[in-house]
């Protein structure tokens, strides 16, 4: 569809749903789906609602990557290590089957109890984690396995060793690796999509967010500390930069929203996993017939078009 027609339709959709949409942003999701979602979500984006989603995204009982892996994939075989230095437990990698087809999986992994949280470093990866991810992306590409990534991190780990091992460069190269893959990629933000550490695993053909996930350039606390010089203004910061799924969809940053069970994903892991599975399967099916070069071209064009300027 031409850009002009798409923009026209977005305008009409905006009038229909009463949600302010932006000229100049593009959305590659099918417009029907967009319309359904906008209509469902239009009443849901007050400041209070945004903060409730921030809290739900960080809820301690929220399902993490491995909770979804065991419910969504069959025959999961975990792959460890970056083949250089170590195995970063903040990122899980592996192969499994989905609808009988082998897929590669990558996801940030948080911990449930104190011991596991330490092992998983609260889902904050070192450069080694992103290097492990890149290795598995290339493996997927070599064998034509679709790639599914689950994003759930407060951010890449800000530490001395992480910097010494090249955190910034690893995040940049992980995005570049995803931009090169000739295999379909579906990413789902399942909790916190924290800044560079999140986008390093989310340069995908379809980027989805769960209903109560957040995706942001900085944590609300970090933003408040810098702009308000007071970390306790996090709520105010969150309502200013709007990290919730509805706003991300409106801004053309994501391609769709994955519903959660009533009350949030933490209330029913099995139901949340079923809904996630359904979304991933349907998006992968849509991407399955597209040639590798075309996938790559369209993926790059999608990210190339993001941004709003005059």
């Amino acid at each position: 569809m031409s850009t002009e027609a798409e923009l026209g339709l977005r305008d009409r959709l905006a009038k229909l749903s009463g949600v302010k949409l932006l000229r100049g942003t593009k959305l590659s999701a099918e417009l029907e789906r967009l319309q359904r979602q906008l209509e469902r979500l239009r009443t849901d984006t007050s400041d209070e609602e945004i903060w409730r989603r921030v809290e739900l995204a960080r809820h301690q009982d929220r399902p993490y990557t491995l909770d979804y892996v065991e419910r969504v994939l069959d025959d999961f075989f975990e792959l460890h290590g970056d083949r250089g230095r170590l195995d970063d437990h903040a990122i899980v990698a592996g192969l499994g089957t989905l609808e009988g087809r082998t897929v590669a999986l990558l996801g940030h992994q948080k911990g449930r109890d104190i011991k596991e949280r330490t092992t998983r470093n609260f889902g904050m990866a070192y450069p080694e984690g992103y290097r492990k991810a890149m290795r598995v992306m290339e493996l997927a590409d070599r064998h034509g396995f679709p790639l599914v990534t689950l994003v759930d991190t407060p951010g890449a780990y800000p530490g001395v060793a992480a910097e010494q091992h090249g955190q910034g460069g690893a995040i940049a190269r992980s995005q570049a690796a995803m931009a090169r893959l000739g295999t379909p990629i579906v990413s789902v933000v399942i909790g916190e999509g924290g800044s560079g550490g999140a986008v390093a695993l989310a340069v995908a053909d379809r980027v989805l967010m769960q209903e109560n996930a957040i995706y942001s350039v900085i944590s609300p606390e970090g933003c408040a500390a810098i702009l308000w010089r007071d970390a306790s203004q996090a709520k105010k910061a969150a309502s200013a930069f709007k990290p919730d799924a509805a706003h991300c969809l409106e801004l053309g940053v994501i391609d769709g929203i994955v519903p959660e069970p009533e009350g949030g994903a933490h209330t029913d892991h099995a139901a949340a996993a079923a809904l996630l599975r359904e979304a991933v399967v349907s998006h992968l099916a849509e991407l399955a017939s597209i040639a590798p070069d075309e996938l790559k071209r369209a993926r790059r064009a999608k990210f190339r078009a993001m941004g709003v300027y005059a």
């Binding site: 890449a156 800000p158 910034g168 995040i171 190269r173 800044s195 986008v199 995706y215 308000w228 190339r304």
Partner: protein, 284 residues
């Protein structure tokens, strides 16, 4: 002399006022050795302290004048301006901050792009300016960089980027974060077209810049003493309570750990770039 060869004046710091007196120093007073210069004097030395070798920040147009052949630079994309998609308001509205930055710097945003030649070698330049909202990358910087990649590919000339940025522009929220994959994809397209990116990292290049195109040059050069870290020293100190090494995140440490190809003194930057442009092959 490199920045590591500074005279140790830490004993004086103990007597100094505990608040950050350094931050209130005159911009032309050297943080390395406290020598003070007239502005024309400093500009004449490429803004490198003649006493201790400290590299002062360089504004974008002055940087271009230092690097490009006289009168060779032609700026493009001068009309691009930030929009305010989130109607962002912190202590002041984003549009007000933008207007103020434009008035104070005379720039449309934190990056200048255009064509130039360096010692006769044609190239494209994408130079950042830290004085425009901390050189932060929002939609305009991302778009200008992407267009610079496309122009470099179309012209068959190398792209030289000079980064100086605190990272993504928070006032543009998630769209600022999306400038990371956007610029990364632009570099990938440039690579597929057989193009060349030489990335010069000036002080400071942190956060989203280091996590996107600034790290993806075919060759990475940094200026002495440039801070280049994903997380800034304050964030790391506060989050981890680790004791930071003296050279935390500096170009020197990054060279030691293998993240950059060379540290280049500013007086040698022009000739170094010319040499690299020659090595990568003249497309003119």
């Amino acid at each position: 002399m490199s920045a590591t060869g500074r005279i140790d004046v830490s004993i004086e710091h103990k007597l100094a006022a505990p608040d950050d007196a350094a931050a209130r120093k005159h911009p032309n007073t050297c943080p390395g050795c406290s020598s003070h210069y007239r502005d024309d004097e400093l500009a004449g030395h490429l803004r490198v302290c003649p006493q201790c070798g400290h590299h002062f920040p360089v504004r974008s147009l002055e940087r271009i004048a230092q690097l490009a052949d006289p009168d060779s630079f032609v700026e493009d994309e001068t009309e691009l301006r930030s929009a305010d998609p989130l109607e962002f308001f912190d202590l002041r509205p984003y549009v007000e901050r933008l207007a103020e930055a434009e008035l104070a710097t005379g720039l449309g945003d934190a990056m200048i792009t255009g064509t130039a030649s360096i010692e006769g070698h044609a190239c494209r330049l994408a130079v950042m300016d830290f004085s425009f909202m901390g050189g932060s990358m929002g939609s305009v910087v991302g778009e200008k960089f992407a267009r610079a990649c496309e122009a470099a590919a179309a012209d068959g000339v190398p792209l030289v980027s000079v980064s100086a940025s605190g990272g993504a522009r928070m006032q543009e929220g998630i769209l600022a974060l999306m400038q990371l994959p956007k610029t990364v994809c632009a570099v990938e397209e440039l690579r597929d077209a057989g193009g060349v990116l030489i990335s010069v990292i000036a002080h400071p290049t942190t956060g989203g810049l280091l996590a996107s195109f600034a790290s993806l040059g075919d060759v990475l050069l940094a200026e002495p003493g440039a801070l280049m870290s994903f997380a800034g020293p304050r964030v790391v100190a506060q989050t981890t309570r680790e004791k930071l090494p003296d050279d935390f995140g500096l170009a020197e440490s990054n060279l030691r750990f293998g993240h950059i190809d060379a540290i280049v003194l500013r007086p040698e930057l022009r000739s170094t770039l010319a040499r690299l442009l020659r090595l990568f092959g003249d497309h003119t």
